[in-house]
């Protein structure tokens, strides 16, 4: 019983922490001109300019909404899956850039943070945490009556 409570508490803490990190990442981007985030995205060389601008304007608001949604804790399977998908996309792009030896900013929490093994470790941990929260949300979903 105690161990089940501990697991439950850990999952809630993980979910709230992930949500807070998403809200912080959004706030850091929204307080700056959107072009700074656009420059970070552009440096990855994966999107044309029009898409770079659109992504730079939309992603911070998406991060804010997903962060608040995670903290609120309802429809956790959907919010968890969306957060995991977004983090996997970011992580994949960062790994690609690192493997190609691109000396560029991560763009995760505003300008001035170059991609390194440290940022990869941090974002990899976030991916693992998001996948764990999502998996547990699916495993613990309420059983419908037969």
């Amino acid at each position: 019983m105690a161990s089940s409570k501990l697991v439950r508490f850990t999952l809630i803490a993980l979910r709230v922490a992930l949500g807070a990190i998403f809200v912080y990442a959004a706030w850091v981007k929204l307080r700056d001109p959107w072009q700074l985030f656009a420059m970070s995205i552009d440096a990855y060389r994966v999107l044309p300019l029009g898409m770079v601008e659109l992504t730079a304007r939309v992603v911070p608001w998406l991060e804010l909404a997903l962060g608040l949604w995670l903290i609120a804790g309802f429809w956790l399977r959907v919010s968890g899956a969306l957060v995991s998908l977004l983090l996997l996309t970011f992580f994949g792009l960062m790994v690609r850039a690192y493997a190609k030896g691109m000396a560029i900013d991560c763009g995760c929490f505003g300008p001035g943070e170059a991609i390194s093994w440290k940022t990869l470790l941090r974002d990899g941990t976030l991916v693992a945490a998001a996948l764990l929260v999502t998996t547990m949300a699916f495993l613990n979903r309420p059983k419908t009556a037969a």
Binding site: P33, Q35, L36, F37, A38, M39, S40, D42, A43, L49, V52, A103, I104, D105, G107, P111, G112, A114
Partner: protein, 202 residues
């Protein structure tokens, strides 16, 4: 000398004073609301692109009316392929002392492949490239100044300043505006985005 430059950079950081600017290596209006500090290496191909493609557009769009202040800093990278970048930085800084920085920097970037270490140039014809931008009288002055301890110290001071900002690649462009501390732009090579940013800030 290196220690002095590091101490100076640390002092600037502690006091929150504005970034130092060598007037002989600057463009535009010192009291403009937007300031760019460009850290570059004369042997870096991306620095060449910035100098030849981005800079002329910045000067064209923000020069008239004094809407920008651009300060150039030397940041010769410590990588084996860049054998002559420090020598080039000393000559360019020496040329700045006689008001010929732009001409020498233009020549060094324009003819980068003729003297840099990346193209297998055995001798690194840095001086020949620098000299081609100067008159014989200027050449004598620049050759003497390039060995001057104050010129060497100025380059090392730029490097120390860049290190304080965690710069590890070139070109790195620091932006200062609206009372904010200078910060590195994630990528200054996309002019439409850079222009959109500069137009949007006060």
């Amino acid at each position: 000398m290196k220690l002095c430059a590091l101490l100076l950079a640390a002092l600037i950081s502690c006091l929150g004073q504005p970034m130092p600017a060598d007037k002989d290596k600057a463009f535009g209006n010192p009291s403009a609301s937007r300031r760019l500090d460009v850290f570059s290496d004369f042997e870096c191909p991306m620095c060449r692109s910035f100098h030849m493609e981005i800079l002329p557009q910045l000067e064209r769009d923000y020069g008239p009316g004094g809407k920008i202040y651009i300060v150039f800093h030397e940041f010769p990278l410590n990588i084996p392929a860049h054998k002559y970048n420090r020598e080039a930085a000393y000559y360019a800084t020496a040329a700045a002392r006689i008001g010929r920085y732009d001409a020498v920097a233009d020549k060094l970037f324009l003819n980068q492949a003729a003297w840099d270490g990346a193209h297998g140039n055995p001798s690194g014809k840095v001086w020949e490239t620098v000299a081609s931008a100067l008159t014989p009288a200027e050449q004598k002055k620049v050759q003497a100044l390039a060995k001057d301890p104050s010129v060497i110290a100025a380059v090392e001071s730029d490097v120390a300043l860049g290190n304080r900002f965690g710069i590890n690649s070139t070109p790195t462009v620091l932006l200062t505006y609206g009372g904010r501390r200078p910060f590195a732009l994630p990528n200054a090579m996309n002019y439409p985005l850079l222009r959109s940013l500069l137009d949007g800030i006060k």
